[in-house]
Symmetry: C2
Subunit: 449 residues, 2 copies
């Protein structure tokens, strides 16, 4: 076979009209994501790069790219906003990065359901839904950059998941349109649950063109920064807000003082040693929140309407989920993080155990969400003071030992990222059907061939 560089050249020559990016530093930038949150992934992935980046302007161009890559036997790596944290969008074996952000149309909206192209930014989509009284059910804190397809392929949920659960909760993603990676690419419509075989597979199970998603009614949200002298009180108050059926909510997160200290722009509001919570609730529920905060011995340190947050581009939502991690890592490069899930009803006990065993190395950042069984559970994105990779493994083992689930954010293959270290047979079957040649970021799925 000819060298990859020759095959890239052949591809470029065959498709000269496309929006290519070949500038090496730009190609390098668009080959990476937020993988550097993990020192392990940084070591493993920082040398990776595509040979070229292309940004299809429409589905026809995308089809030509796919056909061309199949013809030239070139890897393709799909990219949305590039906001993933596990190298979801990093090409492991060069080839072409396909940036989907120009395929960004809201196609239709009716009866609380929207259909949009995968490359639409979540923030843009949310703004287009708002005048109709709807909003996204859940979105990452990176919604300004992240795309709908990226959320589906590499994300989880986030803001909104306290009410509607993760994006994968049945009823939220209704259908997808997927292109096969074949010499003559086909476009196939899938409804859920079949569609969900393509979720969270990092764009390796075919190319997601469109998503049809059920929406949430839009609310006037108010954002609150709450502070507490006592970490238990912060947890109790966050949990009480999260659980209260009479409080309509979009976000409930709790931060140890050692995490909240990294919220530089919020420092005027947070006293030394104060633990914090950020909640976004319906404007109609102010008094109920005040009651819970008073009852927990906390105080409302700062509040603003979501509209003001949007207008000033300073929303408290951008201190939650992995934006928390981002704020911390910007200040202190020696930090990294874990992704944890505490057992329903054992949260305090597990948190106390971890604190006793590893409190000096870890700082709590908790996010309440609703799980698939409708329970308000507590997930975490705790900060970790990184020393060595083996110590990081020990900390993960320590969590698992006491029953805390860990979704390891320091691995980059699809299999290592799953709970059981393996893809499901159904997901593998979908992979073989939609990417028979294994061209979608080869190396990402180790069990596919």
């Amino acid at each position: 076979m000819t060298e990859r560089s020759e095959r890239i050249d052949a591809l470029l020559r065959s498709l000269p009209e496309l929006d290519w990016c070949l500038n090496p530093s730009e190609v390098k930038r668009k080959s990476l994501d937020y993988f550097w949150f993990s020192p392990v992934l940084r070591r493993q992935l920082e040398s990776k790069s595509a040979d070229a980046v292309v940004r299809p302007r429409d589905v026809d161009e995308l089809r030509e790219i796919v056909a061309g890559c199949v013809r030239e036997n070139l890897p393709l790596t799909m990219r949305g906003g590039g906001t993933g944290n596990y190298g979801q969008a990093i090409p492991l074996n060069g080839g072409v990065v396909v940036e989907m952000t120009a395929c960004d149309r809201l196609l239709w909206l009716k009866h609380g359901v929207a259909r949009a192209q995968a490359g639409i930014k979540l923030g843009v989509l949310d703004e287009q839904l708002a005048p109709h009284g709807w909003e996204l059910r859940c979105m990452p804190s990176t919604y300004r950059m992240a795309t709908l397809g990226g959320l589906f392929c590499g994300g989880f949920g986030g803001i909104g998941s306290i009410t509607y659960g993760p994006l994968s909760a049945p009823g939220t993603v209704l259908g997808i349109k997927v292109m096969t990676v074949e010499a003559q690419p086909r476009v196939i419509e899938l409804r859920s649950p079949a569609a969900m075989q393509h979720a969270h597979t990092y764009g390796t199970n075919g190319i997601i063109l469109e998503l049809e998603i059920a929406l949430a009614p839009a609310h006037e949200w108010d954002e609150y920064l709450l502070t507490f002298r006592d970490p238990q009180a912060a947890f109790a108050c966050g949990q009480a807000v999260a659980q209260a059926p009479g409080i309509i909510k979009k976000e409930t997160a709790v931060f140890a003082d050692s995490v909240a200290q990294y919220f530089k722009k919020l420092s005027p509001y947070i006293g030394a040693g104060e633990h914090a919570a950020i909640v976004a609730i319906s404007a109609s529920n102010r008094e109920a929140l005040e009651m819970l905060v008073d009852g927990a011995g906390g105080r409302i340190a700062f509040t603003q309407s979501g509209a003001v947050g949007k207008a000033t581009q300073h929303t408290l939502l951008e201190y939650c989920w992995n934006h928390t991690t981002l704020h911390a890592l910007r200040s202190d490069k020696s930090l990294t993080y874990l992704q944890t899930s505490y057992e329903y009803g054992r949260e305090r006990e597990q948190l106390a155990f971890i604190d006793k065993e590893a409190g000096g190395e870890m700082s709590n950042h908790l996010e309440f969400i609703r799980d698939d069984r409708g329970r308000v559970i507590c997930n975490g994105l705790p900060l970790v003071r990184f020393t060595t990779e083996s110590r990081l493994r020990e900390l993960i083992a320590l969590h698992r030992e006491c029953g805390v689930g860990v979704k390891d954010p320091h691995v980059y293959t699809l299999e290592d990222g799953t709970r059981h270290g393996a893809m499901s047979p159904a997901s593998l079957a979908a992979k073989r059907r939609f990417d028979p040649g294994g061209l979608l970021n080869p190396g990402k799925v180790t069990s596919a061939r």
Copy 2:
């Protein structure tokens, strides 16, 4: 003291302009409610009657009535739509029934909060909210007749509680306006939680004039009648819908075949021996529901939009909550019911135990709701084949024995209706403040004097 009839005459003479009802059969009818659901209460309460009924046209008239009753030392019993099941609106010692249904204005609506007079019918209020994109968070199946004040004073919640919990969930009732029963009645505004000392006290803690309530976003609801050969499958499917965070819902109820048989107008859709579920979900969640029904081996026997249900005056919501009981009792006068609450996580075990011990006398009607801790729990309004009062007590004891909570619907005093058989000190203090003379339906609260 003069005879009560003389004092009634004096009152009538002093307020000749009011909208009095003195026709004995009408007075009798307006002195009763759905107490006859209980054979025990039927025996105890069927002889009760007011001496007169008055329907104040505004708050000034109400004030004159209250002042007049205090002057003449006459009992007052507050009445909304008269849809209670425990004699909430039945005067135990005659006097005046005050029917609040003419005080029925929606006062304002903003930011997802409404303020309305207590006498507004819930269905009317809901219709006034709809054009603004809002609806009630929860309401009884009797919403066409029941009033807002009646729900607050004698109700629970019902339709909608699967998402927003009972009416008492903090954040839903924000404030109330209450009139004292004094020679010169005062009007006092209370915010929650103080306002909640007046909830579910059957109108004996002062006279509720207005309520301020947080609302829910209105949805296009679709109503589904689901049927199942297997009762376990019906339960599992109902619970799965209730728990699914990705299914926006308003109602999830499950009925044994022996209950569903009483749904006469639905009989074309329910096969012999089929168990049923009724759910109301967002129109955007049809496919997710189909998936769950298929998975449970059930079928969609009938479906309609909520709008059609409204237009035809045949909504499936009027087969749920105590309308289930009503449908059954209309067919079979020997039936009565219980109000049960199964322990979270032990529902199947408890239901199996009851079925084994008393299956021949009881038929399951289950309602899923969200509790104060945000959990999807299972309440019941099981039908009971009535034999004797002592057997009814045994059945209640049997439930409590295995940990099922029973709110006894066969008692009529406020104390007997509470979990611990006593009013809280705070509620008693409110009683003494707002009704110092104990004129509000004397006998209803036994510990007040």
